[in-house]
């Protein structure tokens, strides 16, 4: 018996893969969420700002539109401000130092058999697992 959430996961995943294929084949770029935003934030991507801004417009706007029509999905986001700020800073700094996140290193890197993508994925998964052990099981803050 296959659980429903796995089917949705696979379907959503395929759509993400198609999105990355479009960005690569048409725009000639790696679809990495942290890189696209980061280049706008620190100014390093000012030459391609329009392409980045339109990508983010779709990424932020279209789910908002879908939610208006079909209702808000479960998000379970914490309301603990300290957790949100600490996690946001870690994600922001970490993805810029590593030059990639789950989409850039994970989706686009692994499918290219890139050593950097694979190493990055191993380390962020490892740290994610340890983070759960530390913050949930030991400290109990999440």
């Amino acid at each position: 018996m296959i659980e429903q959430s796995w089917v949705y996961g696979l379907l959503g995943g395929l759509i993400i893969g198609i999105a990355a294929s479009i960005y690569l084949l048409i725009n000639g770029r790696i679809m990495g969420a942290s890189g696209i935003l980061g280049g706008l934030v620190d100014g390093s991507g000012h030459n391609s700002w329009k392409e980045r801004a339109t990508f983010l417009l779709g990424l932020i706007g279209v789910p908002g539109f879908v939610v208006l029509m079909f209702g808000v999905p479960e998000t379970n986001i914490t309301s603990n401000g300290w957790v949100l700020v600490a996690a946001g800073l870690l994600v922001g700094v970490g993805t810029r130092i590593a030059k990639g996140c789950t989409s850039g290193h994970g989706v686009c890197g692994i499918s290219r058999f890139s050593l950097r993508g694979i190493v990055a994925t191993v380390f962020y998964l490892l740290a994610g697992g340890l983070s759960i052990v530390l913050f949930k099981n030991i400290l109990g803050v999440i």
Binding site: G12, V62, I77, V91, G94
Partner: protein, 141 residues
């Protein structure tokens, strides 16, 4: 044209993220919780996203330029340095802590209330701050 295709790509990315359940922080944390009640959904998401890209990369390798004529993805940088390892480790720690990575954080920005905005602003600040930070600690290499 470039801006239209990047809009389509971003839209599909956002759509895929909500359909797959990646915007549900409990699902993401459930996948990372290997010692607890492990939720394998994320493996299907990552696997599903990698499948089309495997084909795309094989095709892209045989092309010099993208359909719009820009240089197609330089050969991958293969240097595995401290920056890659340390950065990924910090990112993973934050990912586990809140259950959000950059893509889903933006895809859920319109319906995650002030919590979502607080995470996003902190993340964007971290991205901006990482430039002077890197210059100072010289992690490159």
């Amino acid at each position: 044209m470039r801006n239209l295709s990047s809009f389509v790509s971003g839209s599909l990315f956002g759509l895929g993220l909500i359909i797959s359940g990646m915007t549900d922080t409990a699902k993401v944390q459930g996948w990372l919780d290997i010692f607890g009640d492990w939720d394998p959904t994320l493996a299907f998401v990552l696997g599903g996203a990698i499948l089309p890209m495997l084909v795309t990369w094989q095709y892209a390798k045989r092309r010099q330029t993208s359909f719009l004529g820009s240089t197609l993805s330089e050969p991958p940088e293969q240097k595995v340095g401290r920056d890659l390892v340390v950065g990924s480790f910090l990112f993973g720690a934050g990912w586990g802590l809140a259950g959000l990575c950059p893509g889903p954080a933006m895809a859920s920005l319109t319906f995650n209330g002030t919590s979502g905005v607080l995470f996003f602003v902190s993340m964007a600040f971290g991205m901006w701050f990482s430039v002077p930070l890197l210059r100072r600690i010289q992690l490159n290499g």
